[in-house]
């Protein structure tokens, strides 16, 4: 029990950003991450998300790939350039091997095709959080 509480303490300080131009995604993902103890901010406009990112620190970014203005790959590049320790999880309704390969090559922590179960994202986020705590990537 104490271990679990201690784990909760550690998770509590983590901050997550969700970026998707489809409102349903942010609305549905927010509770998944908040149940894990994350402080969550949701953005439908990727440009606003990037602006906010430069103001406040985040540990994990969950972003759609195909968005108007700034796409998920560009967002990944900028976020990672700014802070390499940040874990970026990309989600997409248009999965392709090429985009997946590009995303992983550019440092994405994970690439998930929509629709996906909330549990699938939860496990990926838990791995990302563990990786952050350990300061090294967890082999998936």
């Amino acid at each position: 029990m104490r271990e679990r509480e201690a784990e909760g303490e550690m998770t509590r300080s983590l901050r997550a950003m969700i970026v998707d131009d489809e409102p349903i995604v942010g609305r549905r993902l927010r509770p998944v991450l908040e149940k894990l103890g994350f402080e969550v901010e949701v953005f439908e406009d990727p440009a606003r998300a990037l602006a906010r990112f430069s103001e406040a620190g985040f540990d994990i970014v969950v972003s759609d790939v195909r968005m108007e203005g700034v796409d998920g790959i560009t967002l990944l590049e900028r976020v990672r350039a700014s802070s390499p320790r940040i874990k970026v999880i990309l989600i997409t309704g248009h999965p392709s091997h090429e985009i997946a390969a590009e995303a992983m090559a550019k440092g994405a922590f994970e690439y998930i095709a929509k629709p996906f179960k909330t549990d699938q994202l939860r496990r990926v986020v838990e791995r990302a959080a563990a990786s952050l705590r350990e300061g090294e990537d967890v082999v998936s």
Partner: protein
């Protein structure tokens, strides 16, 4: 919609379904509308070359006709009946046509299977356990529309273009789906905007969730999202059906209609079921009444004692032991369960246009005008295609078959046509299903011949029955005709599990059977065997695919037994209540 990228499996499906049947060899029909849609319809050079190679192998090779006087054929010549059966007989073109039509029919069945898979998949998504966006719904609509179009095409190939109006109906449904998607895209989720700020902080929520033991996580399927907590209440706890404690968590094996189920579901806070799927009736009821529900948990009735306090988080497919007040507060303050997102509303609309089978059991001859959904259209198409295939097999190709007096089936003339050169089995001369080189047909005939029906009773009813079958090593088509109509089996059993499939259909009414007991019995048996069952006034049909070879073979054997069982005379005056014992008795007899 047509500009949207298709998923790989859809592309494959569409590719398969636009393969042409060589018109020149088959028949001259009126121009197909497919041509007007810019799709190819002529035979390709490769297809012609292939036909030149394969056609001679199927032609009559000069052996005299021995398709009659069957009983004297056994072991009376230099070759066994089996060896002779394997040699292609007269009517080479009819056989080629049969082979092509069988392939086309199987393609129709694959479309049907794909539609059912989409139904199941989208029901899971509708339940709410997934994160989806509008793109998913658009792709679903596109897949369904493509299926309707492909099915209209395949049906017309099978019926010499006699059902061109299916294209119009397909186009109408496509237009309806397109409108839904366009309207759905225009909806602005005004009321949803930002969810209210929860009064429970994430840290407190996470710590609370970590304190409670998890009873189930991802063990079942989410039927309706949301969260609730309460004491477990079994459906059978109350003094009368439906007398459940308000706000409790209803636990049951399944929720069959009636017995106060509706009243019970209205009172409870959440539902946990042992059985069922997100596409099932109980799941639909839960969604209709917006009651958080998880189905298919397997052992909830055994594991959860009455009165046990549990918390159901159907958003994440988790059941906790105990009441987690923080989670309930979080949901309440954030209004998470209160509204349905537009994407889910759109998904519901698309599913309503695509999936319900509205052709009722009272419509003995449903027409295209009765088809209100894509499922109706697909169902009627494969039903009419089955009619055409039955006619071809039992008339034009009848003489190409060999009468095989199988042991155990003296009450029915069995005529078998080989659709390929099957490996011979020597000169055994034995006449038993076990000698057949077709694994699938062997299993079917084994079930048919060995089902323990009272022979005297059956003989009188089945004396006018005839069984025509066409087979390859892995595939079998069998049609049993009688004065009441026909029953059909199309099955494939091979090494590749994903292509194993069984389709069967039965005439719904027997003689002296106004209540359609025959069809109801078939539906009862097939449901127990986990077939996807459809009942209309035209037929009762069942479909399944993807089981391992041995299991598929066993199911084919049981279907063979069902063919035998249904030769028994009809049961006048027997209502639906009489079916279950008969289903039990039948399945017991197959054990």
């Amino acid at each position: 919609m047509t500009n949207l990228p298709l998923r790989p499996e859809v592309r494959q499906q569409v590719r398969c379904q636009t393969q042409r049947e060589p018109k020149g060899i088959l028949e001259n029909g009126p121009p197909c509308r497919r041509k007007a849609r810019g799709l190819p319809r002529s035979v390709t050079g490769t297809e012609r070359r292939n036909l030149k190679v394969t056609a001679p192998a199927m032609r009559y090779d000069g052996v005299s006709s021995w398709s009659t006087g069957a009983s004297s054929r056994l072991g009376d010549g230099p070759m066994s009946w089996l060896g002779r059966m394997l040699r292609p007989k007269g009517g080479g073109e009819a056989l080629t046509l049969l082979k092509l039509r069988v392939t086309r029919f199987r393609q129709l069945l694959r479309s049907y299977g794909t539609l059912l898979a989409l139904l199941q998949d989208s029901a899971e998504k509708q339940g709410g356990g997934f994160i989806l966006d509008r793109q998913y719904v658009i792709t679903l609509a596109e897949q369904v529309a493509e299926l309707a179009d492909a099915v209209a095409f395949d049906l017309n190939v099978m019926t010499s273009q006699r059902n061109l109006s299916f294209y119009e109906q397909s186009e109408r449904l496509r237009g309806e789906l397109r409108s839904l998607v366009a309207e759905g895209g225009a909806v602005v989720p005004v009321s949803l905007g930002e969810a209210a700020a929860p009064t429970v902080s994430p840290a407190v929520l996470a710590a609370a969730l970590a304190r409670f033991p998890v009873l189930y996580r991802e063990s079942g399927q989410v039927a309706c999202r949301g969260a609730a907590a309460g004491p477990v209440c079994h459906l059978t706890d109350g003094p009368e059906p439906g007398a459940v404690v308000p706000g409790s968590v209803l636990v049951a094996a399944d929720l069959a209609p009636g017995d106060g189920v509706l009243a019970a579901v209205r009172r409870v806070g959440a539902i946990l079921l042992d059985r069922g799927s997100a596409a099932g009736a109980a799941a639909r009821l839960a969604r209709e009444l917006r009651v958080p529900a998880i189905v298919g948990l397997g052992d909830a009735t055994q594991r959860l004692a009455s009165g046990t306090e549990v918390t159901v988080d159907a958003d994440e497919n988790v059941v906790y032991l105990g009441r987690i007040a923080e989670l309930l507060d979080y949901y309440h303050s954030a209004r998470l369960s209160a509204e349905e997102e537009p994407e889910y509303g759109l998904l519901r609309s698309v599913r309503r246009t695509a999936f319900p089978l509205t052709l009722g059991a009272d419509q003995t001859e449903p027409s295209l005008r009765d088809c209100r959904t894509v499922h109706d259209l697909v169902h009627l198409a494969h039903s009419l295609a089955g009619d055409a295939l039955c006619e071809l097999l039992t008339t034009r190709c009848r003489d190409a078959g060999t009468v095989v007096p199988l042991a155990g089936v003296p009450w029915c003339e069995v005529r078998i046509t080989s659709l390929e050169r099957l490996p011979g089995r020597g000169e055994s001369g034995a006449a038993a299903p076990s000698e057949l080189p077709s694994r699938t047909l062997r299993a079917f005939l084994d079930g048919l011949a060995n089902h323990p029906e009272p022979s005297a009773e059956r003989a009188s009813a089945a004396s006018s029955s005839a069984l025509n079958a066409a087979a390859t090593e892995e595939h079998a088509l069998a049609v049993m005709t009688s004065p009441i109509g026909f029953d059909m089996l199309d099955a494939a059993v091979g090494e590749a599990q994903e292509t194993n499939s069984i389709y069967c259909r039965f005439a719904p009414r027997g003689e002296n059977d106004p209540e359609a007991f025959r069809g109801a019995l078939a539906a009862g048996v097939l449901s127990r065997l986990d077939f996807a069952v459809a009942v209309t006034g035209r037929e009762t049909s069942g479909w399944m695919r993807g089981l391992p070879g041995a299991e598929t073979e066993e199911h084919v054997r049981i279907v063979g037994g069902l063919f035998a069982r249904l030769t028994r005379p009809g049961a006048a005056g027997r209502g639906q209540a009489a079916i279950e014992p008969d289903v039990d008795a039948f399945l017991k007899s197959c054990a």
